[in-house]
Amino acid sequence: MSSPAEEALRAAVRDLARQARPAPDLAAGAMRRGRRLRARRRAAVAAAAALVAVAAVALPFVLLRPESPVRPAVPEPTATVTPTPELLPTPGPSWSASPLALPGGWVVTGAGRGGSSQGGSGWVLDRSQGRYRPVQGYDGVWPAPEGTLTALADEDRPGEIGLADAARRRTDWFRTGKWLMQPQWSPDGRRLLLTIQGEGEPMRLGVLDADGGVRTFPVDTDRYFCTDYCFFTWAGDGREVALQQTGSGGPQSESARHPRRGVQLFSAEDGRPTRFVAMPGDPAGPWAWSPNGRLVVVQGQREPLLVETADGRVVRSLPAADAAFVTDDRLLYRRPYGDRDFVLADPTGRELVRQPLPPELVDRIVTVAPS
């Protein structure tokens, strides 16, 4: 239609698509898989409605009543004084029987499936039983960092969020409106932050409370201007939420992340704008902020950065943007490109402890939280 480059690309995409060979028994296989999916969902509903204790079988979602939470063993802190990182042992084949402890007193709370071959399967930590439960059949699963809730998304329920409550042994679905990107739990695990934007509608800040109450607040995106990746994330205090703010200076290229001048914070209680914090990038969530509020990890235009919140000064670059402040001087992150282990490091980037993941989780998207 237009340039030779566009035509070449179009031809290449179509060449790629044409490599597909006919698949026999597609309908029969899909019906078999569909029946299994339906059966699993029915089993989950029945289990919740009857309030029966469910054995450890692979249901779509099973969480049981919390009794005496099992605390994971925390790795010895001796590595903090060693010059080279301590390599902790890889968990054995029975890893799902107890919480996977991470250095710094954190724990793996969930692991999502990469690829759809398992129908979106994964595991969620059942804190009440101190073990992982299989999850299958949902399109998004976000375990709360604390407490008994897990947020669920289902393609068949657009504009809704499910909250599976282990304490009440039931899953309720709540209409929130169409949300973008991924919901994010508050650090206390009681409020789910949503970026709500229906087709042709202005962006709204949304908070889904644990009791199902939904509050949304309009945001003046002309005044609080954001381009490229724009979605709300919790700030470190769990009371404010941050929206990325596009920088006004310098060229903006669609081939790279847009420059940032900082984040605008809003009250999660009433949506009121509270303050602006200068930083040259995007914080990933509440754990990106140090507990004392002095530092924040952001994804800069080119690389992850450690930044002073007082003035936006870059302290240094870091290996990963999705890093969690475990304490004011310890960061926990998944080693980039490795995927096989989590690393506890100090803010200078010096690795202290490495904890390998079980082989089953290496290709998964892993969520973590304080234990």
Binding site: L9, R21, P22, R41, G140, D156, Q182
Partner: protein
Amino acid sequence: MAEVTDGEFTAFVNDRGEALLRVAYALAGSQHGAEDLLQNALAKAYTRWPQIRGDAEPYVRRILYHDQVSGWRRRARRPEVPLDALPEVPAERDSGHDADLRMLLRDALLTLPPRQRAVLTLRYLEDLSVEQTAALLGCRTGTVASQASRALAKLRRLVPAFAEYADRPEVSR
């Protein structure tokens, strides 16, 4: 009733399965991945057949794309083609230049992250506009544009001959 559903569903898959499999292949980049992606989308359609029977194809396509880019399903370690596995760029242009370019581009497409490949598939296989692509993926038009641009930037880096093409008239976003 179940027999009616099964019959209608089977007829739909027999009629549209091949076209849908081509879309799935462009998204997944392999025969096995494509069949798996499509079968999962069809399975969901089957569970909802009474509600969607008149509108099944858009429903299946939407699931295909969402599954491909969904964080929960997305491969954390993508089956990307390493750079050194890409074919050599022909030193001289010849009569097979366009075919070579397409082959290089086709291989380079496999190195793109799922979201970027989904955007290019919607834009260049399905010929959707930026707005339509954003609506289907549930994101902003700016995100579609930036994903497409990043994909094109990577393709230019991987396939210098494409960069030459692209540097003449700019590829539209």
